[in-house]
């Protein structure tokens, strides 16, 4: 078995026992990723030299005992390209940030560093995390390691593809409307979108600040729990960061769901859902039921309004957040201009791709005078109704179960021509962001084309332990399915 096929925790253990050195693991990972990435294009930037010198540094910290029993010490990790890495390119897969080297690290990077992580590079995404296929990247699409005619999902498509292709042991992604969970589902890996406020957003380049959360993507539930434990916790630099005591996520890795109450929203398994995805998800529910969980279907029709509310709120926040890209302080600046206003307009028109422009215009529209109440305020009220719907559901159930996406991975080029169609693919994920809830996506089989099916488990606020326990229990009943890798 190759080193790169190990899970992050397995590798961490072998590093601590001295069986594999950090440098050996880092070199093996770099070699594999450089060979495979010619085909999949998961990476935007590879930190080869930094990773090798960091590997030696981490090894000595392990040898002197300074990293204690940190379970991820020495394990190479890939970072989504919207998370700031000091002195190293952070492009958001956009032309407008194609030369941006942040003068500081995101809080999650500081936390990973303290845990002894070795960052090997930055992974591809939809431009500014706006998209569900990784096709809107300025640097070209990432391909799905299970079938390169298909997309890896998005926006954290590079992160999920890298983990599936064993080009990284694990990755950090970000999730605003499903951007960790949906690519995890499409690539047959596991990803967690934590409760809003669990992981600091300091240094995450903002798309829609009230919805954005950073989270782990890995090859199993145990890895995800261990990674989340490292990156979560209160941070004074993020005013929405929350003090929480429930951050010992690995203690929830228990194979026991006896008595756990699981609700399946009828709308999540109804019309619009691919029949093979439905079968895969309902089979998983049966497995949990056979292990002692109580599974029931119920009505949660309010989520039908999640997509419109999401696109209003996310676009509004994006139009405000992205107004900072003006060609003055950092990033791309247009070459020919006539006065300052022209610098702004030309820089932005040349620097942003069409999907980003579209969302900034929707955002400008819904916030504009005359439309603010009908669109933006209405969406915030719909959000309140959706939160209320979930609150009621969690009075009866410990977790909510459903598919992550309505289909398996779509074909390259299929969604780009019709943005509305792409938006509708977010139907099972966006309500979780609107309500601030934690959710996990994990593989539950493959369809007839051997493309992975994603199972989504949603928890109550700060209920990460419940979804981790259920996901771990389900995972114990099946083997990890791996794409055919060269």
């Amino acid at each position: 078995m190759d080193i790169t096929s190990l899970t992050a925790l397995e590798l961490g253990k072998k590093i601590r026992s001295g069986e594999i050195s950090v440098l050996e693991a880092t070199k093996a990972q770099l070699e594999i990723l450089k060979a495979r990435d010619k085909e999949y294009h998961a990476y935007v930037t590879i930190f080869e030299e930094e990773a090798l010198s960091r590997a030696k540094e981490v090894q000595s910290l392990i040898d002197t005992g300074e990293l204690g029993d940190s379970p991820l010490a020495g394990v190479p990790v890939a970072i989504k390209d919207n998370i700031c890495t000091k002195g190293n390119l952070t492009t958001c897969s956009s032309k407008i940030l194609n030369n941006f080297k942040p003068p500081y690290n995101a809080e999650v990077i500081e936390r990973l560093n303290r845990a002894g992580a070795v960052i090997i590079g930055k992974v591809n995404m939809d431009e500014f995390a706006m998209g569900s296929t990784t096709e809107t990247s300025y640097y070209g699409p990432t391909l799905n390691p299970w079938n390169t005619a298909h997309v890896p999902g998005g926006s954290s498509g590079g992160a999920a593809a890298a983990v599936a292709a064993e080009e990284a042991f694990y990755a950090l992604g970000s999730d605003t409307g499903g951007s960790i969970r949906q690519p995890s589902a499409f690539c047959g890996v596991t990803g967690i979108k934590p409760t809003y406020g669990t992981v600091s957003r300091y240094g995450l380049i903002a798309y829609a600040s009230s919805l954005d959360q950073i989270g782990p993507i890995a090859r199993d539930v145990s890895d995800c729990a261990a990674i989340l434990e490292v990156i979560s916790g209160h941070d004074g630099k993020d005013s929405t960061s929350i003090h929480s005591d429930n951050i010992k996520y690995t203690t929830a890795l228990v194979d026991d769901v006896k008595g756990m109450k699981i609700g399946i929203p009828k709308g999540y398994i109804g019309k619009g859902l691919d029949s093979e995805v439905r079968d895969g998800v309902l089979k998983a529910a049966k497995v949990l039921e056979s292990k002692g969980a109580i599974v029931e279907e119920f009505d949660l029709d309010i989520v039908d309004y999640a997509i419109p509310a999401y696109y209003v709120i996310a676009s509004a926040e994006a139009s405000s957040n992205l107004s900072r890209y003006d060609g003055v302080k950092y990033g791309y600046r247009t070459k020919d201009f006539d006065g300052l206003q022209d610098v702004y307009k030309k820089t932005r028109s040349e620097g942003f791709g069409m999907e980003v422009k579209r969302r900034m215009m929707i955002g400008a529209f819904v916030l504009s005078s005359g439309y603010y109440d009908a669109y933006y305020n209405k969406a915030l009220k719909v959000k309140a109704r959706i939160k209320e719907g979930f609150d009621k559901a969690f009075e009866r159930y410990d977790i909510i179960l459903g598919p992550t996406a309505p289909t398996t991975a779509t074909r390259i080029g299929e969604s780009l021509s019709d943005p509305l169609k792409m938006y509708l693919g977010d139907i099972y994920t966006v309500s979780v962001n609107l309500a601030g809830l934690p959710a996990i996506s994990l593989p539950c089989g493959v369809d007839r084309n051997r493309l992975p099916i994603g199972l989504q488990l949603i928890g109550r606020p700060f209920g990460e332990a419940d979804i981790i326990r259920a996901a771990y229990s389900y995972e114990q009943t099946r083997e990890y399915a791996r794409p055919d890798l060269r």
Partner: protein
């Protein structure tokens, strides 16, 4: 809702974007279909609801007003497209 040329010009101006003729046509079509879909929100009665910005009751997050970072001008200017004497250079804006 149908998006007119005037509306597209207005939102492009708000977003500080210059659209080509082709971009304008596709934006008109896409924004119309997206906003029509967004209008389905109106089926839902929300008259009893308050607009919700944050899902959790966090407000007035205070901290001590203490400087924790150092003056780091060179580092902060390292990404400037054009700089001179420790300043960002922009086209002249005031005559």
């Amino acid at each position: 809702m149908t998006i007119t040329d005037e509306t597209i010009d207005y939102v492009a101006k708000l977003a500080k974007l210059e659209l080509s003729g082709e971009e304008k046509e596709s934006a008109k079509k896409d924004l119309s279909s997206i906003l029509n879909y967004i209008d389905t929100m109106n089926e839902l009665d929300t008259s009893e609801m308050e607009p919700m910005s944050h899902v959790f009751p966090i407000k007035n997050v205070f901290r001590e007003d203490v400087v924790v970072n150092e003056a780091d001008r060179d580092n902060l200017l390292s990404n400037a497209p054009v700089k001179k004497d420790g300043c960002f250079i922009v086209p002249k804006t005031v005559e």
